[in-house]
Amino acid sequence: MDSRARTVLDDADIGRAIRRIAHEIVEKARGSEDLILLGIPTRGVALAHRIAEAIDAIEGTHVPVGALDITLYRDDLRLKPARALEPTTIPPGGIDDRTVVLVDDVLYSGRTVRAALDALNDVGRPAAVRLAVLVDRGHRQLPIRPDYVGKNLPTSLAEQVKVEVAEVDGVDRVTIWEGEDA
C-alpha cells in the first residue's frame, strides 16, 4: 500500500455498511421478492454477493445475484487499448419485470452506471433499476444518483479512492490518497 494512503473504511466498517444497505434495500422493496442484484465487475460482483447474503440473513430468502460487464458499452473505449472482457451472468429467469439493484464499489463520474443502464436495456426490461455503491466520492459528470450508499466520501479531484475486497484483493479496505495511481 502507498505510504501516503489513509484507510477510511476497515473490514468492520464495510461489514456494517453492507448490512445497512441490505436492510435499506429490503425496506424500500418491501421484502425481497422480485429483487435481483447485479454486480459490476470486478469488485461490484463480490459486494453484490455479500449484500445478497445479508438479505438472506434478514429475510431468509435467496436473492439471485449476477454480474453485468459494461466494457462493451463504455464511452471511453477509444481512449485506451482494447480491454479484456469480464463475465456477464444473468440469473435464470432474466430481469424482465424485476427490480434490479446495480452494485458497484465506487461512484464517481457516473459514466460506468450510464454504461450499465445501456447494457441492462439490451438484456431486458426491469420494473425498476436501483443503484447501490459502497463509496460515493462525488464529482458526477452525468445526472445519476445512488439509492443506497455505504459511505459518502467527499474528495478532491486530485485524490484517489481505492476499494479492496477480500474475494479479489485478500483484504477488506477503502483507502484514499493524494496524487497519481498507486
Partner: protein
C-alpha cells in the same frame, strides 16, 4: 495488435485472450437483442477477391453485431474485373474511410502487402490468402476444441489433433498447425504424399501417410476438402481411391476414442473426404463451428478496433 495477418503472429496469451473474449461474446448470441454498441461509427470493409459464403457472412454478422457499418466488396462485378489493381482498390477504400479491411485474396501474401504498404491506415484482417493462411478459421477451430475438450478455458496443452486431407493447398491446415502449436496442442498432418507440402518435416507438427494408424490416438480429427479448383495436376488416381484411403467413414470414425470430435472447415464434399453418415453424426461439430466463427470474429474485430488505435503511419 493492429492487424491479424497470420496465426504465427499470436502469442499464447494473445490467442487465449481472443478465445476468452469470444466466450464472453457468445453470451450475446443467446440474447434477444444480439447487438452491442461497441464499434458504432466505424466502417468495416469485406474485400473478397475469392468466392466465399460462410467466411464473408460470418465477418458481416460479427461486424454488424458490434454496430460497425459493413461494406461488402466482391471482386466480381466491381472495378477489379475491369483491371483495377489491389493498390488502387485499397486507396479507394481508404479515401472512403475504412477503419478495417477484411481481405480474402487468391494470392498468398496479399493481406500482408495491404497492411505494410501504407496504402491504408486501418486494420487488416486476413480472411484467407491463397494457400498461405486463414487465421480466424484456426481461432474458431481452437475455440471449438477448447469448448468440447478443455471445458472452455485456458489453452490446449496436450490435446492431440489430426488434420487430414489436402494439406498442400490448405491455408486452414497451415494456420491451424501454427495456432494449435502455440496453444500447446500436438498436431498430426495426414495426407497422401502428393498432397503433403514440401518441407513439412520443418513444420512444428508430426505427419503421417496412414490415417488408420493415427486415428485411435487423437482427441479430434479435422477433415479438409480436396481443393480441386487449385489443382492443376493429378494428385491421386481417382476420387474413389482417395475416399477409400483418406476419407472419414463410419468404420474409421469407430476407431476414434469415445470423446473425440469430428471437425470440417466447410464446404464439405460429402462422399469424398467425409461420408454423409459421419457428417450427420452427433460427433460432428460443423454447425457449431459456424456459430463459433461469428463469436471469434467479433472478438478479433473488438480487440483490433475497440480500443485506442495505434498510429502506424
Amino acid at each position: 495488435m493492429k492487424h491479424l495477418l497470420s496465426a504465427a503472429d499470436l502469442s499464447r496469451d494473445e490467442a487465449v485472450l481472443i478465445l476468452d473474449t469470444a466466450a464472453e461474446l457468445a453470451a450475446v448470441t443467446d440474447r434477444s437483442v444480439k447487438k452491442l454498441p461497441t464499434l458504432r461509427g466505424l466502417t468495416v470493409v469485406n474485400l473478397f477477391f475469392e468466392d466465399s459464403t460462410r467466411t464473408r457472412i460470418s465477418f458481416e454478422v460479427a461486424a454488424k453485431r458490434l454496430s460497425a457499418d459493413v461494406i461488402n466488396f466482391a471482386a466480381k462485378g466491381s472495378s477489379v474485373s475491369k483491371g483495377e489493381s489491389l493498390k488502387d482498390t485499397a486507396l479507394t477504400l481508404e479515401a472512403m474511410g475504412a477503419d478495417a479491411v477484411v481481405i480474402r485474396h487468391q494470392a498468398s501474401g496479399a493481406p500482408h502487402r495491404l497492411a505494410t504498404s501504407g496504402w491504408i491506415g486501418g486494420s487488416v484482417v486476413n480472411a484467407g490468402d491463397g494457400t498461405h493462411e486463414h487465421p480466424t478459421q484456426a481461432l474458431l477451430d481452437a475455440f471449438t476444441l477448447r469448448r468440447h475438450l478443455r471445458d472452455g478455458a485456458g489453452d490446449l496443452a496436450g490435446l492431440r489433433v489430426a488434420i487430414v486431407g489436402d494439406i498442400l493447398h490448405s491455408r486452414v491446415a497451415r494456420s491451424n498447425v501454427l495456432l494449435l502449436q502455440t496453444l500447446g496442442a500436438d498436431v498430426t498432418l495426414i495426407a497422401p504424399p502428393t498432397l503433403m507440402p514440401f518441407g513439412v518435416e520443418s513444420w512444428p507438427c508430426r505427419f503421417s501417410y496412414d490415417i488408420d494408424a493415427v486415428l485411435p490416438d487423437v482427441d479430434a480429427v479435422m477433415m479438409l476438402r480436396v481443393q480441386a479448383e487449385r489443382m492443376q495436376a493429378a494428385y491421386f488416381p481417382s476420387s474413389l481411391e482417395y475416399s477409400r484411403m483418406y476419407g472419414l467413414d463410419s468404420r474409421r470414425m469407430a476407431m476414434l476414442p469415445e470423446h473425440a470430435i469430428v471437425m470440417h472447415p466447410g464446404p464439405m464434399n460429402r462422399g469424398m473426404e467425409i461420408s454423409a453418415d459421419v457428417a450427420d453424426s452427433p460427433r460432428a461439430v460443423m454447425v457449431e463451428q459456424v456459430t463459433n466463427g461469428v463469436n471469434v470474429r467479433m472478438a478479433v474485430l473488438y480487440l483490433l478496433l475497440g480500443g485506442r488505435q495505434e498510429e502506424t503511419r
